[in-house]
Amino acid sequence: MTSLLTLADITPAYWQSTLIRVLLLGVIVPTGAAITAIAFLFKVMAWMQSRTGPMEAGLLKKTTVIDGERVTAHSGRGELQLVAEVGKWLQKEDLVPDGADRFAFKAAPFIVLGSTFLFFAAIPAGPGPAVAAMLPGGIFFILAVSSLSVIGVLMAGWGSNNKYALMGGLRAAGQLIAYELPMVLAVVGVVVLTGSLNLNDIVEAQANFKVGPIPIPFLILQLPLFLVFLTAAQAELTQSPFDMPVAESELVAGYQVEYSGFRFLTFFLAEFATAFGFAALISTMFLGGWYLPIGIDPSSAVWYALGPIVLLAKILLVSFLIFWIRFTYPRFREDQLQKLAWKYLIPLSLVWIVFTAVMVVVR
């Protein structure tokens, strides 16, 4: 165990450690998106809908002998479907509509993707420095940065020179802004219990908050806020039941209508990476993050190896929940969705915050 190299032991120069962190992020974000897409969008969705999902683009080749002839066939499991999709999108023509605001149109996907990358920067995968940016205001930073995507959506809607895209973009922006508030309020309860905005402190607080010998994650203590945050996250991802801006493609088309090729791929990547990121955030805040109560002290070096695995498991669990809701529920109309945010989620979270604060003072 002591031979495990940690970033702290190596003590490289500042610029080297920054470079490593940036590269790691550059790997983690697309990988996260890929895992989410393959696992949930293709296979889990297919399983829930009693079908098989993509089966053709397989990885392994299976060679069998049929009637004396060697027959090579794909593995029949469709693992490479995402690679095929990425390749397909990359080889499409890069269109910019006539009369579009070129800067807004081209920059919008990258602003959304940029906000996703920044999102991952503050989520810890282990104790101490196992995080890209050790920020004392971790949660605050993440919430602020996740709002940047709204700008990207508005730029996409405006820059497409298409009134339907503009309408879709405005609707999406309205929804995203409306659900920022419940998201922030849901976080406040957790912060009150922890006493700090730093995500590592939140994980440690859950590790140390013991009833008898068992640490209780904030899921139990803050169950209403967990549900509020889950709903708000679903809305921030514009997934069913909140996908009216995107399902406008029934009637009109959403803000992504004029995008094709790798720009659309960027939006797609950002959407799934953000889902991965929100799942990571929820796991950290409510499920205990990279810590598992198996008797190992939270500050030991084991967690540099075990932490990411535990976190990944929890992310998959939460993603399953998010996508399960997506595949099951029909969608809200915009006014119903706004009503839900303003009239139900915000009062509920305010009430629970007051309750939590009273409990903290009383204890």
Binding site: M48, Q49, S50, R51, K163, S240, P241, D243, M244, A247, E250, L251, V252, F327, T328, Y329, P330, R331, F332, R333, E334, D335, Q336
Partner: protein, 392 residues
């Protein structure tokens, strides 16, 4: 008959009228015209809707049908009666056996022939099976249009069982072309009755599943209750039929009230479902209950099929005597009727096809005034039409 237009919708109508006059005064500078369709994932085929919007609300929504007009009424004038059966299968292609039945019954009425009892029973069983095939797809498709896409896959999976049963008798899943003047083409295969009973159990399970997944879902209820209210007088005046009419509280079911000659509904024990609200939810609910009721009807019919010949004595080349006849039946989509004018010839002289969806869709301009744009999709989904039925 207690359906009333909710006040919010009344106010919306007034607002829409005001917006309309504003548009006329200002030479169409306000509002946006939106073409929904004809290529469209949400409608059941190539229906074009020309919607004028004022922000979020629809000022007017005019369907423009005809993209699938195949000229059936002209084509029937040059086809022999058995050939017309083939043609007519394709009007409502989801429940296609049901299209043949009223035409055959009208021809039989003019010829004075009655099919033997065994043929009548099997004809009714296939008629009800086509109702199942049609409405299970509606229930799944409703999910797709509302956003809960999972329902579609369950509907298709369970509908396969019904289509398998239809196929094993008639040889065709979608276009059976099985009804003949005087009876049916063929008899039942061995083991069919037991298999169909098992299928009925599966369909009942499917109904329960859809009820939990979709109809009972809170979001669906929020989106469907109180939307698209049609009072019964308006429904009757437009000629709405089927579940649309019964969802507005009108107790009219042609199987019970005006049974066509040769369909033994009066010998069975079954119930007609109505709902007084007249909104989208009530129409959906009535259809769900109708599917369940159909499974019971089929079970009773299966238990009591008489034995005997499958075809009455008819000449090989059929010439229907001179006269006019109209037969209307309670098809899956509504009341479908054929007005057959014959001049004693091999071919009909004129066939007027009264299709249910034609009247059902003609109410769309009235019912969508002042609603929000997503509600238009909900209303269309629950009015439930098939393009072949509108356009013939």
């Amino acid at each position: 008959m207690t359906a009333t237009i909710p006040e919010s919708q009344q106010l919306a109508y007034i607002a829409a009228k005001a917006a309309d006059s504003r548009i006329n005064l200002e030479l169409e500078t306000e509002g946006m015209t939106l073409n929904i369709g004809p290529q469209h994932p949400a409608t059941h085929g190539t229906l074009r809707l020309i919607a004028k919007l004022d922000g979020e609300q629809v000022v007017s929504c005019e369907p423009s049908p005809g993209y699938m007009h195949r000229g059936y009424e002209k084509l029937t004038e040059v086809r022999t009666y058995p050939q017309v059966t083939t043609l007519v299968n394709r009007i409502d292609w989801l429940g296609s056996f049901a299209n043949e039945v009223p035409f055959i019954l009208a021809a039989e009425k003019l010829m004075g022939i009655e099919a033997p009892p065994r043929a009548q029973w099997i004809r009714t069983i296939l008629f009800e099976l086509s109702r199942l095939a049609n409405i299970t797809l509606f229930l799944g498709d409703l999910g797709a249009q509302m956003g809960g896409v999972t329902a579609v896959f369950y509907a298709f999976r369970d509908r396969e069982h019904v289509l398998n049963q239809i196929e094993s008798v008639t040889g065709g899943r979608f276009h059976p072309n099985f009804d003949r003047i005087g009876g049916l083409k063929d008899d039942l295969p061995k083991g069919w009755i037991a298999d169909t009973k098992k299928t009925m159990d599966k369909i009942r399970d499917f109904c329960d599943e859809i009820e939990t997944l979709l109809i009972g879902n809170e979001i669906f209820q929020t989106r469907a209750r109180g939307i698209g209210v049609i009072p019964p007088e308006v429904a009757l005046s437009y000629g709405l039929s089927g579940a649309n009419l019964r969802g507005s509280g009108v107790d009219l079911d042609l199987r019970r009230d005006d049974p066509p000659p040769g369909m033994p509904y009066d010998k069975l024990d079954w119930k007609v479902w109505t709902h007084p609200d007249g909104d989208c939810f009530s129409r959906t609910w009535v259809r769900l209950q109708e599917v369940r009721e159909s499974t019971k009807i089929i079970d009773q019919l299966l238990d009591s099929i008489p034995s005997g010949p499958i075809m009455a004595k008819v000449p090989r080349i059929i010439k229907v005597p001179e006269g006019e006849a109209y037969v209307q039946t309670e098809n899956p989509l509504g009341a479908m009727g054929y007005y057959v004018v014959s001049k004693g010839d091999l071919v009909p002289f004129r066939v007027k096809i009264r299709s249910a969806s034609f009247n059902n869709v003609s109410i769309v301009p009235w019912v969508t005034r002042g609603v929000y744009v997503p509600d238009v999709i909900t209303i269309l989904a629950t009015l439930y039409f098939i393009l072949g039925d509108i356009d013939r």
